[in-house]
């Protein structure tokens, strides 16, 4: 997921460097501010936590079928240090990875910092912010963080004119979904074990108020409506792959109520897609909410 140098065109890496630089300056200031308030110096702690994330790569978790994965850490850092300190620590990790370990490019550093230190950390923190810390929200955070930063990376490559066909994109996204799931499971396990050994180092996360949650729901609604409208013009990667491999020759689910992500017979096309998306998201939310209540 670390984009190497040579793949992004100058406009793309320049824009992302220009976006990331002020963002890093901002989180650096935030971290200093919270430090003077809380009185406990955090910089040495952040450094040691960054080294911990590096070292955590040595601990291999056996996952199904003989494959193994390791912690990537964005969500774990966000839960323990808070989002801005986590973003700063991830930035430091990415800088060292690029210049010392050739993991990710130097010019592409802005892109990698943007994808993993900002989008990744924010996406990982979002579910915890919305629902408080629970097994399900941390799992969702870990998965979301990897999928979001992976999707950003693929998008940036595509913007740079790297011709990735729908099938290549589909495979890429599939890999990210799998890695994301593994990251979620590992983050949950790691947090449990940290909680047992050192509960005082995990701050409490109270879920945000009902009104704030409503605002988030509204903006998600806008995004879905807009996104579905744009996206319905282009077929998605997985579908394309399935069609190519021959999985989709005679789909049995064409008669399902939300087939093709559209609610048939409710008016114009864009409304159908948006409504179908909305119903899907509501179902997912309901399942998550029920799961979290039952914790």
């Amino acid at each position: 997921m670390h984009i190497p140098d040579g793949f992004l065109t100058p406009p793309v890496w320049l824009t992302l460097d220009a976006l990331s630089a002020p963002a890093v300056a901002w989180v650096a200031r935030q971290t200093r501010k919270s430090e003077s308030v809380a009185d406990d110096q955090r910089i040495p702690l952040l450094g040691v936590m960054g080294a911990f994330v590096f070292a955590a790569q040595m601990v291999n978790f056996p996952v199904a079928l003989g494959a193994s994965g390791h912690l990537l850490g964005g969500t774990l850092l966000a839960v323990i240090l808070g989002p801005s300190a986590a973003a700063l620590t991830m930035t430091a990790i990415l800088v060292l990875q690029a210049l010392l370990f050739q993991d990710g490019g130097v010019l592409a550093m802005g892109a990698n910092v943007f994808n993993m230190a900002f989008i990744g950390v924010l996406a990982g923190y979002l579910p915890v912010r919305l629902w408080g810390r629970s097994t399900l929200s941390v799992l969702a955070g870990g998965a979301l963080s990897v999928v979001a930063s992976g999707a950003m990376a693929l998008g940036e490559l595509k913007l740079s004119g790297v011709t990735l066909g729908n099938s290549a994109l589909g495979i890429g996204l599939g890999i990210f979904c799998l890695t994301g799931l593994i990251e979620g499971v590992i983050t949950v396990a790691a947090l449990r074990s940290i909680e047992r050994l050192r509960p005082q180092s995990i701050p409490t996360h109270t879920p945000i108020s009902f009104h704030a949650r409503a605002a988030v729901a509204m903006s998600a609604l806008l995004l879905i409506t807009g996104g579905a409208w744009i996206a319905s013009a282009a077929p998605d990667g997985l579908q394309h792959l399935a069609a190519k491999v021959g999985l989709q020759e005679q789909p049995v689910w064409t008669n399902a109520p939300l087939a093709g992500y559209a609610l048939s017979g409710v008016g114009p096309d864009w409304l159908q897609t948006s409504l179908a998306g909305l119903i899907g998201v509501t179902c997912v939310y309901a399942v998550c909410a029920i799961g979290i209540k039952r914790r």
Partner: protein, 177 residues
């Protein structure tokens, strides 16, 4: 530190040059410049190590029907990595990290970088010892790996607090390092 700043500037300019080059024939002069450096020549094989990832992306591009572009990308990423490796071979990390500060990189980031770099080997060694011990017992099971991660975290955290207290005792005021 001033030389580290110079080397970092040269590295950036060189990488930008590679990034701006349109195709493989035009990359030859840059390759020749790199090969004239002894530090780069000793890294020719190590630079191949990052190729799996680049090759995967390039393979995606090639499969989608653009062989020439894929090859150019592969060569570009190889040369870029070679340049970074050559830079690394002649510049100690603490030097270029210190040079970043004079470029206006926020002090908090520079300090975190210095700490991560300082404790990287210490904590990674600890993790490696844990892994060797686990291998001797027949490898990590999932819950054992989670436990190891927790222990590693707790030890790192305690170390961070200890280090900070020691630094305060020696007059660290949060800025100077």
């Amino acid at each position: 530190m001033r030389t580290a700043r110079g080397k970092l500037t040269v590295l950036l300019l060189f990488l930008i040059l590679i990034s701006l080059t349109p195709n493989i024939p035009w990359l030859l002069p840059s390759a020749a410049v790199l090969l004239s450096l002894r530090s780069a020549r000793s890294m020719l094989v190590r630079a191949l190590l990052i190729l799996p990832l680049s090759a995967m992306i390039a393979l995606g591009a090639w499969w989608s029907g653009d062989g020439v572009v894929a090859a150019t990308l592969l060569v570009k990423s190889y040369l870029s990595v070679l340049a970074v490796l050559a830079f690394n071979a002649v510049t100690p990390a603490q030097d270029w990290i210190a040079a970043l500060r004079s470029w206006g990189v926020p002090g908090a980031l520079v300090e975190v970088l210095q700490f991560v770099h300082r404790y990287l080997t210490v904590i990674t060694d600890e993790a490696r010892r844990m892994r060797i011990a686990a291998t001797a017992r027949g490898g990590f099971r999932f819950d054992a790996a989670a436990g190891a991660l927790g222990v590693l975290f707790a030890r790192s955290w305690a170390r961070g607090e200890r280090v900070h207290r020691a630094m305060l005792a020696r007059g660290y005021n949060g800025k100077a390092l």
